[in-house]
């Protein structure tokens, strides 16, 4: 699987630039592979029987279950042709059977919507993070997050519009650790050329698709010369193939400083795993908090949608105060992926109208509403637009 994707990405990069220089085998093999790749993009989404899609739903912990219930409620109400296959993952268990079942289900359906699964770090180190396992097994290499200032939300900074593309499978999250001598622990950060090229390519393609002008690579290559140096080099290589898009780079500590003083200067940002974690959380905080931004994890064959900042929200679980916006918008992103564009835009408009015009907001963004009130308002707006809906 890894070799396959390695040759795929290698040949895809090599072919456009140096066409044929590397011999006939690669050219033939490469063309077959690239055409296969294009074919995958053109085929309809998987798991569609009788016009209805099946999507894996992983409730997770904390506020996950209640928010995903609301998503299901809204989907049922709007007559969205999606059926959810619910797979529970118990984070308290040490065996990996639960998460393996979930992974199998996602392989079967191709698309998933999930809440965050808690990682109890009081358990033994061999019990790895379930979320991370899911991402690496399914090779969901790109985490995409779009942070936009919303007119109805009060924030310190205005006019923010940043797309963050974060490498999702390697880097510091490789979970390779060992205690070589008692009292000395080593943790390995792996950066590979293939994955860096892949994520850079994804970032530039997405930037071009969305009409963005500038891609910034975030790194710490002055200190981690080989690791982040390799990442930066790959980004530069890919950038040379997209002359219409400006490419620059910035060191991560300077980036965070710039983000809190002048976030409007950023357009699209691409970075390795850990810096992605920091930068995406900072940006989410800048636009109003974890309850507002949806996130998506894309792989070659699978896509998993969740909230961008991946919070479990244990302290606000089951109190009807969580903000359903992020999860509902993640659901809309999923509908876009399934090509159900009409449903996606109607739900998205309803959510944004509730927030911006009706000013019905939950406590995390300074409002007084409860989760159910917000969801009811969303459903009422969908009904008022005249589409086919179930009863309220």
């Amino acid at each position: 699987m890894a070799a396959h994707s390695a040759v795929l990405s290698a040949s895809k990069i090599i072919n456009p630039f140096w066409g044929g220089r590397l011999g006939n085998t690669v050219k033939v093999f490469g063309t077959t592979l690239t055409s296969h790749r294009n074919k995958t993009l053109l085929t309809p989404p998987p798991a569609k029987y009788g016009g209805r899609h099946t999507v894996t739903l992983i409730p997770g912990d904390g506020i996950g279950p209640e928010l995903l219930n609301h998503v299901r409620e809204v989907f049922r109400f709007s007559c969205v042709p999606v059926d959810f296959e619910v797979v529970h993952v118990n984070s308290a268990l040490e065996t990996e059977d639960d998460i393996n079942n979930a992974i199998t289900a996602i392989r079967r359906n191709g698309v998933a919507l999930k809440g965050n699964i808690e990682t109890k770090h009081t358990m033994a180190p061999s019990v790895k993070s379930r979320n991370n396992l899911l991402r690496t097994s399914l090779d969901l290499y790109a985490n995409v997050m779009h942070c936009q200032s919303l007119p109805g939300v009060q924030t310190r900074h205005k006019n923010i519009d940043i797309m963050i593309i974060r490498e999702n499978t390697e880097g510091e999250y490789s979970s390779l650790e060992h205690e070589s001598v008692s009292g000395v622990v080593e943790s390995l950060k792996i950066i590979t050329r293939n994955n860096s090229l892949r994520i850079a390519d994804y970032a530039f393609r997405l930037a071009r698709e969305k009409g963005r002008r500038r891609v910034t690579a975030v790194h710490k290559a002055n200190i981690m010369k080989l690791g982040d140096g390799l990442f930066l080099q790959c980004c530069r290589e890919v950038a040379s193939g997209y002359p219409d898009i400006t490419f620059d780079s910035m060191i991560v500590d300077n980036t965070t400083m710039q983000l809190v003083s002048k976030p409007q200067q950023f357009d699209v940002m691409v970075m390795p795993n850990l810096y992605g974690n920091v930068v995406s959380n900072v940006c989410a905080g800048l636009v109003g908090g974890p309850g507002l931004v949806p996130g998506a994890n894309y792989g070659r064959d699978y896509a998993v949608f969740e909230t961008a900042t991946r919070n479990t929200g244990k302290s606000i679980a089951d109190r009807n105060i969580a903000n359903p916006t992020a999860m509902l918008l993640a659901g809309c992103m999923m509908l876009d992926h399934l090509k159900l564009y009409d449903h996606a835009s109607s739900i998205r408009n309803a959510v944004l109208t509730t927030m911006n015009e009706n000013r019905l907001q939950t406590a995390d963004i300074g409002g007084q509403g409860t989760t159910s009130e917000v969801v009811q308002s969303v459903m009422r707006i969908i009904q008022s637009k005249g589409q086919l809906t179930a009863d309220l």
Partner: protein
């Protein structure tokens, strides 16, 4: 109380004679409490033999370094602070073994004085030797980087009422510099966390909190992903928390801290963390209060060494033009005074600096004004003199 002063005087004497109590240079809790923070009972006499005046090694640095150092010296003179400056240069030279090291007179001066103030140093690109900051860090084992971030009244940023301190482990972690190419196209970078270093930094964080009347310490980590390494760091923090029950201890994930920091920075007090997270978070917090031009910083080392520095760059484009802003170096010098126990002078100089900035009449270009560095300095000197 008196016993403590006596013991520290004896320790000081032994150090000066090149001896130590137990032959090992390991930091002991008693020694930690002697050197860190501000002690009300600490008297200047127990620190240096020359009564009254204390000698501090001054490293002006490059670029705007000399002019801002001159500004600081002028202000200290106006405030009649009992500080004697010993200027030294730290450009790396090749030692006898072929290893790069700092000049021996600089090392000697630092070892003698224990306290240093440093301006910005140029990063050498093709000089063949590592960065000076790295050399200093290794020579004096500067294990803790302390950055207090306090909102400056009069310099408006979108964030008000910021008052937190970031304490960052400065020797290991992700910046260990150990990298290899496994096969062509696969690079491995090693993050090293040791029990000893984690314990040292955790102890320091709690001591700092205690000595500076801070209510809580928060450990920042990513132990859900890096189970063993950050797990070890967290364990050591918990152990240190047990020993300092008067200070509240919490732990928070790095992403949660980032998220909450940009929404409500007032909820944080003292933050302690490994190297990489510390680098990112301390710069994030500096950004909250106005950038590196106004942020002080201190590095605490083993054997009682402490070097305070300004963390901004050398700004070669404005060097020599009297346009630099000495605030960062001045606030670092104030931090140094507090470390040495000279609270009265520290308060006076800090107040003068903040009043001048708030006044808005003489501000340097980076703070939005038009004045020269010398005008800004003179205004502060005048205020300091008026306070007496």
């Amino acid at each position: 109380m008196a016993g403590k002063a006596w013991r520290s005087a004896i320790l000081n004497l032994l150090r000066k004679l090149g001896l130590s109590i137990n032959g090992k240079d390991k930091i002991k809790p008693q020694e930690v409490s002697r050197v860190v923070g501000a002690f009300r009972n600490e008297t200047p006499q127990s620190r240096a033999f020359t009564r009254g005046m204390q000698t501090v090694t001054l490293i002006p640095g490059d670029g705007i370094g000399p002019e801002i150092s001159a500004a600081v010296m002028k202000i200290f003179e106006a405030a009649k602070a009992p500080i004697q400056w010993e200027e030294r240069n730290v450009t790396a030279i090749k030692g006898p073994g072929g290893k790069w090291m700092i000049p021996p007179d600089a090392k000697e001066s630092m070892d003698k004085n224990k306290i240093g103030l440093k301006g910005p140093l140029k990063t050498p690109i093709a000089a063949g030797h590592p960065s000076m900051n790295l050399l200093l860090r290794k020579t004096f084992d500067l294990y803790a980087n302390v950055r207090p971030c306090v909102s400056i009244e009069g310099y408006k940023t979108p964030y008000t009422d910021v008052n937190l301190v970031t304490i960052r482990e400065n020797t290991e972690g992700e910046y260990s510099g150990i990298e290899h190419v496994i096969v062509d196209g696969v690079v491995q970078s090693i993050k090293l966390i040791t029990e000893q270093a984690s314990q040292r930094i955790a102890e320091y964080a709690f001591e700092y909190a205690r000595n500076n009347q801070r209510a809580s310490v928060t450990a920042v980590h990513k132990a859900n992903i890096m189970r063993m390494s950050d797990g070890l760091f967290l364990r050591k923090c918990r152990e240190a928390a047990e020993k300092h029950r008067d200070v509240k201890f919490t732990e928070m994930y790095l992403d949660t801290v980032c998220l909450n920091m940009v929404q409500d920075p007032t909820q944080f007090d003292v933050l302690v963390m490994p190297n990489l997270y510390g680098d990112i978070l301390s710069d994030l917090c500096a950004g909250l209060i106005g950038g590196l031009g106004v942020t002080p910083s201190g590095n605490i080392g083993a054997n009682g060494v402490a070097i305070f520095e300004s963390v901004h760059g050398t700004a070669p484009d404005i060097a020599g033009k009297d346009m630099a802003n000495p605030t960062a170096l001045l606030l670092s010098a104030v931090m140094m005074l507090r470390h040495m126990g000279l609270h009265g002078h520290a308060k006076k100089i800090e107040a003068a600096c903040f009043d001048t900035i708030r006044d808005e009449k003489v501000r340097t270009k980076d703070l939005g004004g038009n004045s020269k560095c010398s005008e800004f300095t003179d205004a502060i000197c005048q205020r300091v003199r008026d306070m007496d």
